[in-house]
């Protein structure tokens, strides 16, 4: 099956630097299947028009198609269509939220985060905390970077947070968090719960009604879709009660210099011309994803991950960080005192595309007491051959470094 699916991804068929490519950077951005590229293509060839205001057929059709993707997304996440807002991406969504929730925060109120968060799920909350005098409390994690679930629940009980914002899966280490349990634990305190689903959206296809979170954010480009588009889910009343964020056309009801009134969510949060083509391309990505069996795909990814771990563990001096059991298929490692940049650069000379560095998680790296890792992130379009090539290249890389 996978060999068939791989053919859907044209970039994977290419040579890079005259070598076949082993793409292990899907946590940064995924490759796009042909159907997504075709949808974008077709839109510009045959359907391009602005949405929502047109009295002409092209505009009507573009609007229908654009809004239909909202339905697809709502279905994917198991929520209502008016509970999903289109944004520029996870970062945009988190900024909208942190801004919108600033006015529920007061002096010494607590925002709970984890040390595993991506900068996008740290800095906006820091800004909100600075403005309001709220405090940020961190869930406890181990030396290896694994969340201590029972201590986490305890911390929630102790701090009774106003807001919890947690990644469903860590981009740096791949750890999957049991956010459902943490959300449950926070219920008695009326905590607003935010899930950063940037990494879980594609791999785990979360059912938000089951997770029972208040808000959820993600980026399309990490889920087979185009760049420049993403989303925010919000439980309708909470969402609609957030203050307006960006303002402009489309999100208003009436504008006059005497005063302006706004629409309800989701329009309220969607000023200006949206990324129409991005949304339509993402619609094709959702169709593609949902045409594939979720459990089969996940099982395959998990087996690849196990294989990768097994092969890596055979190499002396490799240290693997994070939770290797509950993991979306990311391996973050260091080798002795060698610099992650050197390893990644040398691997690249063999056509192995990995990421190196702090992965926008500097506080996590500080906690682990390292400057960064080499990160191998898998998707269902990787195969065992990719991993074999990687291991072979890594062995030679290590040899070169130790010469």
């Amino acid at each position: 099956m996978i060999e068939q699916l791989r053919k859907d991804f044209p970039l994977l068929q290419n040579l890079v630097d005259e070598q076949p490519l082993c793409y292990f950077d899907s946590a940064a951005t995924t490759q796009k299947p042909q159907v997504v590229i075709d949808a974008v293509n077709q839109f510009y060839h045959q359907e391009n028009a602005n949405v929502h205001r047109g009295a002409h057929t092209l505009s009507a059709q573009a609007t229908t198609k654009y809004e239909a993707v909202r339905d697809k997304l709502a279905k994917y996440l198991n929520v209502q269509r008016n509970e999903v807002v289109w944004t520029k991406g996870a970062t945009d969504s988190l900024n909208l939220l942190a801004y919108g929730l600033t006015n529920i925060l007061g002096q010494d109120d607590v925002i709970v985060l984890s040390p595993l968060e991506h900068h996008a799920n740290i800095v906006p909350w820091q800004q909100a905390a600075e403005k309001t005098g709220a405090k940020i409390a961190l869930l406890p994690i181990s030396k290896e970077g694994v969340l201590d679930q029972s201590a986490a629940i305890e911390l929630i009980r102790d701090t009774k947070p106003k807001i919890i914002s947690l990644c469903h899966a860590s981009n740096a280490l791949g750890n999957i968090h049991d956010v459902k349990q943490l959300i449950e634990a926070s219920k008695p305190y009326g905590t607003i719960t935010v899930v950063d689903g940037a990494q879980s959206f594609m791999h785990l296809r979360p059912d938000l009604k089951a997770l029972d979170c208040d808000f959820f954010v993600f980026s399309a480009h990490k889920a087979l879709g185009p760049t420049g588009v993403g989303g925010l889910y919000g439980r309708y009343d909470l969402l609609n009660n957030l203050p307006v964020y960006q303002t402009g056309g489309e999100m208003i009801d009436t504008v006059s210099f005497a005063g302006t009134t706004f629409r309800n969510a989701p329009e309220k949060f969607e000023p200006g011309t949206p990324n129409i083509c991005g949304v339509i391309g993402f619609g094709a990505a959702l169709d593609y994803l949902t045409s594939l069996n979720k459990n089969e795909l996940l099982a395959y990814e998990q087996s690849l991950h196990q294989y990768l771990l097994t092969r890596l563990r055979q190499i002396d001096g490799i240290k693997i960080w994070g939770d290797n059991k509950n993991n979306i298929g990311v391996v973050s490692f260091t080798y002795k005192n060698e610099h992650h940049f050197d390893i990644a650069t040398l691997l690249n000379s063999y056509g192995i595309a990995v990421r190196s560095g702090h992965h926008c998680t500097q506080p996590l790296m500080a906690h682990l007491n390292i400057t960064g890792t080499v990160r191998v992130s898998l998707a269902f379009y990787n195969n065992q051959q990719d991993i074999d090539s990687f291991i072979a290249a890594l062995m030679e890389t290590i040899e070169m470094l130790e010469e």
Binding site: H52, R53, G54, A55, H56, T57, S59, A60, Q61, T63, T64, E67
Partner: protein, 135 residues
């Protein structure tokens, strides 16, 4: 004309111009709403043009009476079609009438601008909401 007659008339017409001509004609036959009834309360949200709508039950028979108007000829014609679907229906039957579906069948939706544009959807939803309140 009842809704079936309207439907077969529109289907029999070739070309958009003829269909629009007929739709506008239907609109012309719809009595104008007296100005005092064009209140903000009666306005249907989500239409680009102005649409006012009042819904009530006829005292004797407890059947739906809807009166409505729009400042555009075409939307007024669409209103006439929608009203032909719902007027005189029993409230309990109204929920199962899908005027939007009907427009789709007549191929009118694809051509008319959707959601925030012509507002067929908004009008139909408004009617359904008000019927629910009545029940």
């Amino acid at each position: 004309m009842d809704i079936n007659q309207i439907q077969s008339k529109l289907n029999s017409l070739k070309g958009w111009q003829a269909k629009y001509r007929e739709i506008m004609l239907l609109g012309k036959q719809l009595p104008a709403l007296p100005e005092p009834l064009k209140t903000p309360d009666a306005q249907v949200k989500g239409c680009e043009s102005n649409v006012w709508l009042h819904l009530d039950l006829d005292e004797s028979q407890q059947r739906l009476v809807i009166i409505a108007d729009s400042d555009t000829r075409i939307v007024k014609g669409l209103l006439a079609i929608i009203l032909a679907c719902y007027n005189n229906a029993l409230p309990q039957d109204a929920q199962s009438i899908d005027a939007y579906q009907l427009f789709e069948e007549m191929g009118l939706i694809k051509h008319l601008s959707p959601s925030r544009g012509n507002g067929v959807k908004a009008i139909v939803e408004q009617i359904k909401r008000q019927v629910e309140v009545l029940q």
